[in-house]
Each structure stands twice: as C-alpha cells, then as structure tokens.
C-alpha cells in the first residue's frame, strides 16, 4: 500500500501479510461515526464483522465472531467514561491474540498508559482526530493485528514537549529525539528506518545512544520498548 499523505509505510505483522483480509469489530456509540468507520474500513479492504453501540454489544460481537482486531471508542454508554478501556481489558483477558485499537477524543497519557501498561503487544491508542487520515487508521489496525503497538503521535509529541528540570532529553540530538518519538509510537526499527530514510543499522545506533543517554535498559522487543520509553517520558 502506498502512502499518499506522506505517512509511514504500513508495517502489518505476519497476520497482515499472510491473511490480507483482516476481520474487524467496531464499537462506537455515535451513530454517524460508527457508520462512517464501517464504510471507511470496508472500502479500505477490511471485513467488518460487527458494529456495536456499546461495550456489551461489542463483547457479544467478539464472542460470536472472534475478530482479528477490535476498534473501540473509550467513552461509551452507560457511564461515558472508560467503558472502551474496560471492554478492551475484558476481551484481552479472554483472548490475548485479538488486537485492540482504542479510539479517544482526548490526548491523555493516562488512558494510553492504562491501556498498555500490562502488555503492550497488539494494542493501540489513536486519537479520533486521526480518522481523517484513513491511511494512518488502517496502518494502526494492521499494526495491532500483527502484535505491534500503535501510540498516537500527538500523544508522544505531548510527552516529548513536556518540560523537565535538568532534562536528560536535552542531551539528545534532533535525530535521536525523532527516533525516540517513533519508538514511543510503537514503530519497529525497520519502520523507523523507512520513515527517516536511513538504513536500519543507523537506527540501531541511534537507539543504542538514546538508551545509554537516558540510562535505560535496552529493550529488544518493540512492545516492551514502547512501555519503557512511555514510562520514561511520563515520569517528570
């Protein structure tokens, strides 16, 4: 798939490649948006196996259809708080192989962190703003379907913008900050290399430097790395 908006090349996992038709279940309480999502995802080549208006409906759909990925709004009836996160936890508890992409209207680190803090594999947190960039939405779905992690860039940007006293981030080069942000979004080394138009070995070097400057343990696995980096950035 090409990237007309100049976004990252998609990096679907093995499941994405082996089985290009991903089965997706949707939960979104706003009817207009739900219909829009169904249409967009179908047009983008996904099989939408169900579209629910609340968490209970989603859990029923998931039990019935066993989708590859669930796209779920955080805030749904009845309490309009964090139903989506709780539904995600319930689904994962039953079947950890189902990828989950949580849609949020808010840029809140808390939500993203709560989503991935146990196990970041196959989880994603995307701002609803991102829905206009359909390619980024589909890219995120494919990534979580493949066991990757997808954290919204604006959330990472907010964390990188955060002011700190004696900020260790100041010791990073511009390029290293870029790499750090992409790591926080959950990108693989290959994807980072593709985005920055460098060879993967250069990315490896940057990452080693970043971890050493920040005093972090190197994390070979991408989803562990996301968690480590996010935790680091979240701490003041």
């Amino acid at each position: 798939m090409t990237d007309p908006a100049g976004g990252p090349a998609h990096e679907g996992g093995p499941a994405g490649r082996d089985n290009p038709v991903l089965r997706v279940a949707i939960a979104e309480d706003a009817l207009l948006l739900r219909e829009g999502l169904v249409r967009v995802l179908r047009e983008a080549g996904f099989e939408v196996v169900g579209a629910a208006g609340d968490a209970a409906g989603l859990l029923a759909t998931v039990a019935r259809t066993r989708p590859d990925v669930v796209v779920v709004d955080i805030r749904m009836p009845p309490t309009h708080t964090d139903e989506g996160l709780r539904a995600a936890a319930a689904i994962r508890a039953r079947d950890a192989s189902i990828g989950i992409l949580v849609l949020s209207q808010f840029v809140e680190v808390e939500y993203a962190y709560r989503l991935i803090e146990g196990e970041a594999r196959g989880l994603g947190y995307l701002l609803k703003d991102r829905l206009s960039r359909i390619d980024e939405l589909t890219d995120a779905i494919r990534r979580v379907a493949g066991g990757g992690t997808a954290i919204d860039p604006s959330l990472v940007a907010q964390l990188l913008r955060r002011r700190r006293q004696r900020d260790p981030l100041d010791s990073l080069t511009e390029r290293e900050r870029e790499v750090l942000g992409l790591m926080a979004e959950g990108r693989s080394n290959a994807a980072i290399a593709a985005r920055l138009v460098v060879v993967e070995k250069t990315v490896d070097t940057h990452i080693a430097n970043i971890f050493s400057k920040l005093g972090l343990e190197p994390q070979p696995e991408d989803h562990r790395r996301v968690l480590a980096v996010l935790s680091y950035l979240r701490a003041s």
Partner: protein, 597 residues
Amino acid sequence: MTAAGPGQGLAMTVGRLLVLVAGLVLGAVSAAGQAEFGHRPPVIGVADLLAGWSFLVAGTIAWQKRPANRIGPLLVAVGFTWFVGSYGLLGGETVSHLASSFQGFYEPLLAWVVLAYPAGRLDSRVARLVVGAWLVDQFAWSVARLVLERPLSWYGCTTCPETVDAFIANARTLDEIGPVSLAATVVLGVAVIALLVRRFGAAGRAERRRLVPALLGGVAVAASVATTGAIRIGFAPDLFEDRRIVAATYVLDMLVAVAVLVGLLQERLAREAVAELVVGLQGVPRGGDPRRTQAALARALRDPDLVLLLADGSGGYIDADGRPVPEPVPGSPGRVITRLGGEGDEPPVGLLLHDPGLLDDPGLVSAIAASLRLEADNQRLAAEVERQLAEVRASRTRIVAAGDAERRRVERDLHDGAQQRLISLSMELGRLRMAADRAGDAALVGELTTLGTDLEATIGELRELARGILPALLTDAGLGPAVESLAIRAPIPVRARTDLDERLPRDIESTAYFVVAEALANIARHASAQAATVEIGLAASRLRVVVTDDGLGGAELGRGSGLQGLVDRVGALNGTVAIHSPPGRGTRLIAEIPVPA
C-alpha cells in the same frame, strides 16, 4: 413584681413611723416611770431605754428598707416587748400585774430573729419548732403568772384572812410551775445556740462573716436566759443590782440591734455568687445544663427552694431536669413567680419560682431576669446567625455543585454533538481524499488535505475548549491523573504527587483540580518560575493541595490574580486557601478542603 404603688408605699412608711413613734414614746414613758418609782440608778435606766429604742429604730429601718423581710417587724416587736417589764411601773396594780406577767417575750422573739437571720425565714423545721416552743413556753408562764400571781387587791381585800389560804396556794402552784418553765426556757436557749453553732460550722468563710450579727444575737439570748434564769430560781436574786452586768447586757443588746440592721442592709450578692451565677447562666436556656443554672441561681439568691422553669417553645414549661411541668399558678404560699424575659406579647423564656423575701431587693430578681433574657437573646441571635451562615454556606456549595454539573453537561454535549459530527466530517473528508488520490487528482488531494488539516485544528480547539470546561479525565479517572495531565501540559517543569487511595466526592475533586489549574496558570503568567511542584494528600479528613513555585513571589489573594475565585470556590466547601509569597522567594499556595467522612 415588688414595686408597690407610690401611695401604698407612703402609707406603709407612715404606718411604720407611727409604730416607731408609739414604741419610742412608750419606752420613754416607762423609763420615766422607772426613774420615778424605781430603785435602780438612772444610768441603768437610760441604758435600758437605749437598748429598747435601738431595737425599735433598727427594726423600723430594716422594715422600711426590706419590707418583705420579717427581721424588721420582728426587731420592732422585740423593742415593744423589751419595755413590757418596765410598763409595770407605770400605773395601777392591774397594769403592773399584766405587765409583769407578760414581760420577757423579747427573749423568744430575739431567738426568732437570730435563727431567721438574714433571710427572715426559719429554714429548718427544728428552728421553727424551737421558736414556736419557746413562744408557747413564754406564753404559758405568762398566763400562769397572770392567773396565779393575782395581786392581793384582786381578792377584794388585802387583809381579809379568808383569802390568805387561796393566795398561798396560788404562790405554791406558781413555785412548782416556775422551774419547769425555766428549764424549758434554758433547754430552748441551748437549742438556739446549738442551731447557731451548727449553722456557723457548716458555713464557708464568707457566710461566717455574714452570720456575725446572728452570733451576737445568740450571745445576747444566752445572756438574757442566764440572767433572768438566775433571778427566777433565786440563785442570784441580786444579779440585776450589779451595774456592770446590767450595763454589759444592755450594751450587748444594743450591739445586736445595730449589727442585725447593718448586716441586713449590707446583704448583697456576694461577689463569688455573682460570678457563679454568670457562669451558670452561660448556655441557658439553650444548650447549657438548666440544673446548673438553677443551682447557681439558688446560691446567688440564697433561696435553696428556688425553681427554674424554662419555656419549651410550645407554650409549656419544663423543669431543670427537663420534665414537662404544668404552668404554676400564682398564690402558692411562700412562693412568688417571676417571669424571665418576654417583653410585651412575647412569651417568657422561663419562670422563676422563689421566696418572696427576694423581692426585698427589687433590683436583684430583675437583674437575674435581665441576664437570663440577655443570654437567651444572645443565644437566639447566635443561632439565627449560625442558621443564616449555614444557609449561605449550603447555597454556595449548591452554586458550585450546580456550576460543576453544568460544566459536565456542556462538556458531554460538546463531546456527543459537535465533536462527533466534526470527526465524522473529517473522516468523510479522508474518504474523499483517498478517492481523489485513486483518481490521480493531485490538486484535489492537496486541497482536501489542507481542508482536513484545518478541520483537525478545529477539532483540536474544540477539544481543548471542552477540556477547559471540565476535563473528562477528571470525571473518569479522578484527581491524580487529571493533575498529572495538567503537569504534563504546563509550560514549566511541574512535579506532581497525588497521594490518594480513593476517589473523592465530585465537587471536592473538581475544586482541588481547579485550584491546581488556576495556580499553575498563575505561575505561568506571573511568577517567572523555573519549576513548580504540586502535592495533594489527605490528612485528618482534609484534602490538602499545595502548589509551590520558585518564582518572584509577592502574590496575594484577591488582587485580580484570579486567585480570589479559588478562595470563593474552596470557601464554598468550607475550605481555606492560604498563600505564602515573600518577595523573591517563591510562592506556596495551600488549599485545604474538609472531606466528609
């Protein structure tokens, strides 16, 4: 109350004066007779006269100054009876016989004064018994003398031999009765002294000073009993011939009269009793212990039988133990009812049932009534202010809560309405852009991309607007995450530590959140700080929010700093905001909000 009409008061005054003049004249006449016919030296006669007069004068003054106190009339009676013996020298045989029979009544009357001093009442049954018995004894002896000691002339002929036997028989009977009566008198005199000593022994120091006149009176009574007794049994028939002894007893009697009068006029509330009373009145009638007040009143007014009844607010009365009691009707003997408070049509705050003797001093009971009323008014006003304050507090809290509810509703409306619509629009825009891309229309893709970017910015602005109204995160996840989010977004480094185990009531969370938000905004605007910290914790049922920066300092509450809004908001939850901001040394803002258990 006590204020008799002026005419009546005048009439009483005139009456007393007439009694006094009559007594003085009688005394003078009898003394003159004594001087004419008597065998005693004139100086003794004068002393006798002065002693009697002193009782008359002292009694009249006391009677006038403290009309309801019996001591005054009793003293007057002592004065009159004082001269009875001397009247015997005034006229013929019959008068002389009557007078000599009924002399000596001043002894039981003086005993009465001694035991009733200073209230004028005989408090104990024993005292009443002793005085009563003495009067009976004296009366019996007098009647015996009157009947048995008939002058010879009453028998028609002083020299008739046939009446001699009867006369002798009379004298013998009288001689047999005499010692019995005298023994009774002595026993009663001893009883008076004993009662006095017991009372003195039980009294405190202040009370003992008050009892000095009674003690003097007791000595006078004892001396009188001893001397007349000695004469009567013939032990020392010439006792009254000794000038020194006679003069001494008369001087003592004069002293008693003066001391009783002075003591009576000086009877005022003791300082300690007043202090006790003031203490006792605090918290009455609401909240305090009415029993304590009743006891304090009883002590201050020296009326142990005093009863305090308090209005129960519905027209009835309760006693000091809180039991409902029927409204007392005036007219029960020895008790009067004084209304406490309740001017005009207002019902009284209470009733005082007390001894009429207290009305001697009209100022006393009205002062008590006034202070009780004052206390009641004070408490009513305090309660009123407290009620209004509670109302204002409650309404302030309701306003804040209503404001928060409104914020929540607006935020929800934004989220469910405009935001979702804009997001669906932007998604449709995305679809169009993909279609244009597939169609190879690069110009259209470019325009749609620009449009999409604008739309994203709009959505972002709307989101921040909703966030400023009331962050969903606060409602969803609570104070800790919401404050952490504030810290992440702050333009300076902010270290936030929230130490809370559980969610707090909504209005407390939102208030604490806005304290932090406003404080951080203020720091960003004014403080030129390098860093700030936020600490939130719960201690002793109070949520404590502390925001500290290392900036310029000099911040003040309520000087257009936007902090006044915080003070109002926190105040609405009965919380407090304090600020420490020495110039050049940073600012520390401390908000404390009570958390209901």
